[in-house]
Each structure stands twice: as C-alpha cells, then as structure tokens.
Symmetry: C2
Subunit: 265 residues, 2 copies
Amino acid sequence: MLIIGEKINATRKPIAAALADRNATAIERIASEQVAAGADRIDVNGGDADASREADNLVWLIQCVHNACDAEVCVDTARPDAARRALLVAGEQAMLNSISLESDRIESMLPVVEEFGCCVVALLMSDAGFPRDVDSRLRNAEALIDKLTGVGRSVDEIFIDPCLFPVAAGAETWGQALKAIRAIRRQWPEVHLVGGISNVSHGLPKRRFINIAATVQAIEAGMDSAIIDPGETDMMAMIRAAEALAGRDEMCMGYVKAASEGRLG
Amino acid sequence: MLIIGEKINATRKPIAAALADRNATAIERIASEQVAAGADRIDVNGGDADASREADNLVWLIQCVHNACDAEVCVDTARPDAARRALLVAGEQAMLNSISLESDRIESMLPVVEEFGCCVVALLMSDAGFPRDVDSRLRNAEALIDKLTGVGRSVDEIFIDPCLFPVAAGAETWGQALKAIRAIRRQWPEVHLVGGISNVSHGLPKRRFINIAATVQAIEAGMDSAIIDPGETDMMAMIRAAEALAGRDEMCMGYVKAASEGRLG
C-alpha cells in the first residue's frame, strides 16, 4: 500500500498561512510528521487565488519537503506551467497529480507527462462528465491507459483514481465504485488504484467511520494506494489490518511489527 | 444487520460468577446494556464444568434476559437436552446456536430444530473437519440447508456460519472465506450469514482492528448478522458505516440518526 500524505495542501488554512509567510519550519515539520506516521510520498498543492503564484509556491513547498525528509513528492496541480516548474525541481521519481480524460486537461498535461516521464494520477472523468457506472469507468480507464502508454509510461506508472462519489447520493453509488475497482484490477493487474476516499462521506456526520470502512473495502477490491492524512491513526491501523487480511503482509509480520512498535495506536 | 449480543456467555468470568451466585441483577444489567447498545438478540451460553447444570443455567439466564428486556434470546449450546429445556422457556421466536454437519451434532440437534421450529445457526464443519475452501463450504451449506428445510425450516430461518479461520494461519485464509460468503449469498439470497469474526484475529496483537476490518469486508460480501459485543462502540459504528455503504440504509438515514443520537461514539 502506497500512502501519499495529503496534508501539504494550500486549500488547508495552516498551509496557506505557511505559504504566505514562507514559513519553511512549519512545512518541514508537517512533511516529517507525515513520513514518521507512515507516508511513502508527500503530496504538495500550492493553489493560490493569484494563479501566477502557484508555480513559485510549488517549487518552495518541494524544497521544504526535500529539506525535511527523503520521501518523493506528488506534484498536485491542474496547470501545466506550474507542473513543469515543479517537476524540474522535484526529482526523477516525482509523481504528477493529475491528468484526466477531459480534452483541455489531456491536451495540456499529456505533453508534461511525456517530457518528464513521471508516474501520474489519472482521474476517470471525461468531457462527458464523471463516470458513474462500471462500464464508463472501464472505457475511460482504457482510453487513459492508451494515451499514457502512448507517451511512454508503463502501466505500473499509472495511478487510476476511479472517481468516488458521496454514498449519501444514492444506494448504488458505492457498490458501483467497488465493482469498477474490481474490474480495473482484473483487467490491468499492474496498474495502481488510488482513491479520493473522503469524497465518499461527503454530507454525512462522523465522516471518519465511512472513510475508514470505504478504504477497508476498497483495499479488498484492489485499491493499492491512498491519498490520506497518515496522522489519522485509526485509518492507518485499519489499512494495515486490511493489508494483513488481503494476504499482502506475509504471515502478518508487518501488522505484528507495527503493533509492537506502538504504531497501531 | 442482525446484532446478536455475545456477552452472556459462561466462559466469561463475570458471567460464570453471576451464574454461581444466581446474581440476577448482574445478568439483567448486561442484557439491558447490550440492547441499549444495539443488540437485536441476546446470546445465552450456560456451559458448566458439571454438564448436568447447563440446562438449569440456561433456563435461569433466559428468565433474567426476559426480565430485563424484550429482545429474543439465542440459545447457545451443543447439548440437545439443554437446548430442549431452554427452548421450552425461551419463547417462539428464540434461535438455536448451533447445529453442524458433524454426524453426532446433526443427529442429536436436528430433532430439536424440528420439534421447536426455531431459527438456527448452522456451522459448516462436517465429519471431514473444517471446510477451508469455497467449494467445500458450498457443499456443506447445501447439505445443511437440505437437512434443515427437510424438517420444515425456511431458508430465511437459517443462519450460516461459514467457519472463519485466523488470518495469521495463511495468506489465502481470509480471501477464501470472503469468496465463500459471496458464493453462499449468491446461491441462497434469503439465507442469513453470521460470522464468528473474532476467530480471524486469533494469535495477532491489537485484534480489534483485524476484527473490525474483517467485519466491514464481510458485510460487503453479504454477511447480514454478527455475534459481537455491541458495547464495542467502534465496531458498532463501523458496522453502521458498512451498512450505509452497502445501500441497505436508505439515504443513510440510519447512520445520520445514530450520529445525531450520539450512538457513533
């Protein structure tokens, strides 16, 4: 399970404040804490009301992360110019978050993926909107994988986000998403599947129970990566439990080790 | 989801002590607490080192439960004489826990099921031992359902326990169990599926994370009943979350109501 720490995101107030003040200590501390809590990568989002500042924000955030830890970054932007500037400093193993099948997004971002040869998060929405059933998700996944392998990415460098919707929107919502995850996993055993799980609990109280239950079920269905706050210890413990159940943790030794080191809360 | 409260079990020290002293107040309090926490039924187990006392124990426990609450009991014994005595006082809606396909068990318990016409937990073990793969579980389920419908039970009065094993015993253990749950649910849409989930975490530390993750996945696969301690608030909250995700909770209103009443912790 690849854990991508989500906290360094400029839509969060403490990050926006640290960005405004160029408070490197604050960003470095959050990067270190996420790695200590189990993050394999650190997502960096430098969105700004003044779009011209996003690239500078990203470059500065990446430098902070590099100062603080060895984890690779995940460059989180929809703007190709900002993505280019960020990927220039982010290192060869950096990842781009994200591309989609919408024509403006694919036309502007696919050349960036080709130029930097990076791993990429691929969202399944297209000009037709969000895919809600299994077939449209499979069609969009196939189209995106075709495009991305066409510019030199291998299937295992692609992180499909299957587009998860609020369960409060309808009884079939989550069942369709799980079926899509299973179908994608079956059709492309090497592709990665990453979920924007927190969307599932949108509009509900006590969201963490829904988020954790959805994650535990998605892992069983084939999800192998998550963009989350690794400081949420119950979520991390349940991810480790789900990995043990999935047989991806030989003899449950990872789970036992995490428990003995006090990392299961 | 039918929640069967597991706490009134003589293998637990406080229950054995209350049984020895015939401390009705203690048993009645535990019954009431389980119902308040969300139990639909109350399991009663009166096992005793002196087997001749089990029937008396069960009758007394059932009277305590009846004094304390309106929940039906689940008579938990492998002894036909004790089951008969208990079912005589337990009421028409009582349930029997359990029968299996082992010849001594089926020969001795099937007449009890026929006589009382009760709902019954059916364990999938047979004279060949515990079923470990999907096919042997399906075969045993079919044989048990045949036997039980042969004495007048309808499929929806049967609670299949698919025999869950410790995940620490092997990487495929839990995957096989989930596949079996899905296969049984597909073949008999009306049968109930109930799990001895705590066995899954046997031998591991921090068992509750494994138990909760397994329950959340089993509900997605088709489990619709659990024998648990409803006082474990995280487990209950995650069961409600899994039901919301499964679309069994229209517009998530049950989840929202539980949250607003402070029942999600």
